[in-house]
Amino acid sequence: MKAIITGIKATMGIYESNEDQVYGLLAEFPDPGALVNAARATRDTGYRHFDTHSPFPVHGMDGAMGLGNSKVGFACLGGGLTGLAVGILLQWWTGAIDYPLNISGKPFFAYEPSIPVIFELTILFSALGAVAGMFALNGLPRPYNPLFYSERFSRVTDDAFFLHIAASDKLFDLEKTGQFLRDIGALYVEPIEDRGDAEE
């Protein structure tokens, strides 16, 4: 059970640090192209617990990281179907059960005038489902991330491109993985420790 939860959290980019409190290795790359190539090399070597960080969306990164198609659509569909059901229930229950009101001889419940309400609720719930699904799949909100211990990492919102391989990966080895990152063109490789003293 714990393994399953760890696995799910890893898909969201939330990784466990190992027994030495090593969270992983952070490598900086000079430009988006190098980052895409590095991500592809990392994936091809067999690493699975890794993530990339850049100031803006990088075209082709999903493919390079082997992420596949986004699953937000299913969350959106689920939200939409929920909204549809809620809409029908609301219109039927308020109109025909709880407070039947005769308006110019129209039926208490009919699909014709109810569809706008059902439609709007479907759209509302789809949108909420999409946003909630996006947050969940990204593991957001995430106020604490061990990567924030790195001084250099603060530049990720400005002009720096990072690749992070987590210590929880099966292939992770502090020496070998560090050498691997330098081999694929990292400017700088830094081990990240999950010290747990972020409040300082």
């Binding site: 969306p57 075209h59 198609n69 659509g73 569909l77 110019s104 129209k106 014709e112 005038p113 569809i115 706008p116």
Partner: protein, 420 residues
Amino acid sequence: MSNSVKTNSLSLWILDPLRPTAQYAREAFRPDGKVMAWFIPAGIGVALLVVSGVGWATNAKQFYFSYLVGWAFCLSLALGSLFFVLIHHLTKAKWSIVVRRIPEALIWSFPLLAILTIPILFGMHDLFHWTHHEIYDPASPQYDPILAGKQGYLNTTFFIIRLVVYFTAWTFIAHRLYTVSLRQDVDDDVSAGARMRKVSAVGLVLTAVTTAFASYDILMSLDPHWFSTIFGVYFFAASFLTAHALIALIVITIQRNRGLRGVITKEHFHDLGKMMFGFTVFWAYIAFSQYMLIWYGNLPEETLWYRHRLEHGWEYHSAALLVAHFIIPFWVLLPRAAKRSIPVMSFMAVWFLIMNWFDFHWIAMPVLHGDHAGFHWLDFTCWLGLFGVFLAFVMYRLGRHSLVPQNDPHLGKSLNFTNI
């Protein structure tokens, strides 16, 4: 160089206003020039129209209604394509440049469609109840005070004047867009984009207004008591949807014959699929908006139109329209994989073309057969005959020029387009 593309002789002008430019096309964009591409639809189309002529001799009224539905179907394809070209110029759309030549070939159908109006003009007395003189005569037992009040708009002279205005406007806009784009293939004129945008700005307004009124005249006035201001939007939604279906289908046909492979990719089909999905929803939205307001308003002169379509078997047509024009396509085209699958896209393209005809049949035929729903064999021969001839002209034009606007400055972006 700019004068190297000569205008065609006047007799061939309705086929194509320009002489062939295919010899200037780059290897990858060159049409294969096979005669069969237009010969087969032309042969089938003419044969079916000859068969329909026999139907005209035996049952003229049925022929006129079937012909009108088939003709409106072809018109909706040309108008939908015109909207496609106009909107994509105005929004400076880049993804669609590689497919733009196909709607450009489609919009030069207006001269042909104008000629094909002639049988409708002969059948006006059978088609349009408002052409009958006795309904305007107060002494006559058929006197109809409501239609008498509409006589200022619904009369034969003004109807023909309006048709002439519509076709002149459409032909003019189409001529500008078609010739400027094709000349750019040869003379590499960088100002072509700006000129086509200018035409589109005026053209979109003009096309929107004329399309709405054309739909009132051609389809809505079949039941002259009825009126719906949203009907023009309904016609637009059907046209725009079906134009995307036909564009996708023509691209698939060309690719099956080894043309444009690697030029138009799954990414472009994905976008065409998104537009088809979006506009089947839009069509349903508009169709429902029309129905709901009439249901809620409950005014006798408006509800009668739906009443005719909800009895004597037409209720099955109405239900089929809801299920097959909206619910089924919605679920089929919803997944990303479906829009990127050529077999699914070609199936849905044919599906939408059939549904568009079914939709117009549903609008027009209860006027003729209010007491029993169904199809007459002339419905099929007229529709497919006209569509065959229409398609033959389009395929003939496509075979004469580069299949892609090869000198568009943004062509590279369109070739390398990917969906995120």
